[in-house]
Amino acid sequence: MIVSTQKPLDQILPALEGGTRVFIIGCAKCATVCKTGGEEEVFRMQEELIAAGKEVTGTIIIDETCHMLRTGRDLRSRKEQVEEADFLLVLSCGAGIQSVAEASDKKVVAGSDSKFLGNIRRFGQFEQRCSLCGDCRLNDTGGICPVTVCPKGMLNGPCGGMEDGNCEVDDSNRCAWVTIYERLEHQGRLEAMDHATPSRDFSHKRHPHNLSLKKG
């Protein structure tokens, strides 16, 4: 899922200057799970905006705000409230915010910061394991991603900053390569570390990406 966090109110309010009426949009998927823009957060935002002297014309939780057609349709179903508003405040990931921007000519205000593609450890705890590099190396690294789990994306073993098995960047984290080594050793395939891994092909990271499953 996409992990996002809500922007603090003192960053949202300046973006709402020059108008008083706000329509708030949340998302029923990722933004609900990470408590950025679910029912609860949208309701709380409504209360906070009212306390700050704004008028909330309405709220909606869209099922997958990143779904562009659905977002357009859902906003049309609330046409009046949307039309009344000076701003559409969106509490979803950046993809969802842009679905809204595409579906309406109103000023769209981002109420959140999108952080990473996250695994869910348990309720309310997210970890980044994959950074969508487009050229997956997990087959060579015991199923642990050095591109993501190592802050330097090292492909050939630990850097000189590893100490007592911990990472130089944050010593509360295990060095990715220590974990990879232990896994490969456990599986009896340490030889996977014997040869230099080819450099990454960063052209996979050229954006924006598009993918169409429709046969041309």
Binding site: P151, K152, M154, G160, E163, E168, V178, S199, R200
Partner: protein
Amino acid sequence: MPSTLSRKMGENRFVITAELAPPRGSDLTLFQRMADIVAPHVDAINVTDNQGANMRMTPLTAAALLVQKGIEPVMQLTCRDRNRLALQSDLLGAAAMGIHNILALTGDHITCGDHGQGRAVFDLDSVLLIQMIQGMNEGRDINGKPLDGKTAFFVGAAAAPEVEPFAVTRPKLVKKAAAGARFYQTQAVFDPQRLSMFCATVKPLGVKVVAGILVLRSAKMAEFINRNIPGLKIPPAIVERLAQAADPAAEGLRIAVEVALECRTTCHGVHLMAMGRDEVVPSIVAALN
């Protein structure tokens, strides 16, 4: 190979290197003065590359200046601030300026230094950098395309004999050797026994070992290093010795000389890290001779 360091190591002579950081500004006066003090006593001077991710003058310029003065530099080059294009173009520039030794490093993470909000590059890592330099020495760029004039770099890599767990770092040492590293300049060593174990481990790789010698000034400095410098761990016994000493700076020097003397029999050279006290380099070298 035009590198004198390479020739000396080839002749199995014990080499001594020191290191200097380029200035944090355009004024090279102090850098030159330190180079003049240190150079007569050592075989080469390492020029650091934005060490600890703290912004300094490019090592390319500072190393080229040493060449002009007739001093042999080891230019350190990290993957943190340059992508493969910039690395190759700096390397070609270095070759043209008569810089023959490169210490190929991954580099500390950018958040370790004074520009923590900058973008870290890490397009390549040290193994891939060494591989690329080897290719350039053979006359081709990273994509295999021919160069107009190949390079002739003598390439070194970093190693950490006292790191834990050492086993995890071993495959990478092997990869560095296979990629073309001809010497390891090690992280500071304090335990001669660990160093000789390390030398025995890497001996089959045919790579020379130049042991890092750190000149400490006080227990406080040692503690600061332990807290702030990635990959550098000063053992408690050494910190204690400094804490107990009447003259900690002199004790730090004594420790450095003791370790350096042990290295004479175990490895192929020492790399003196004077941490700004470059004026002590001549006395350590004198003790070694």
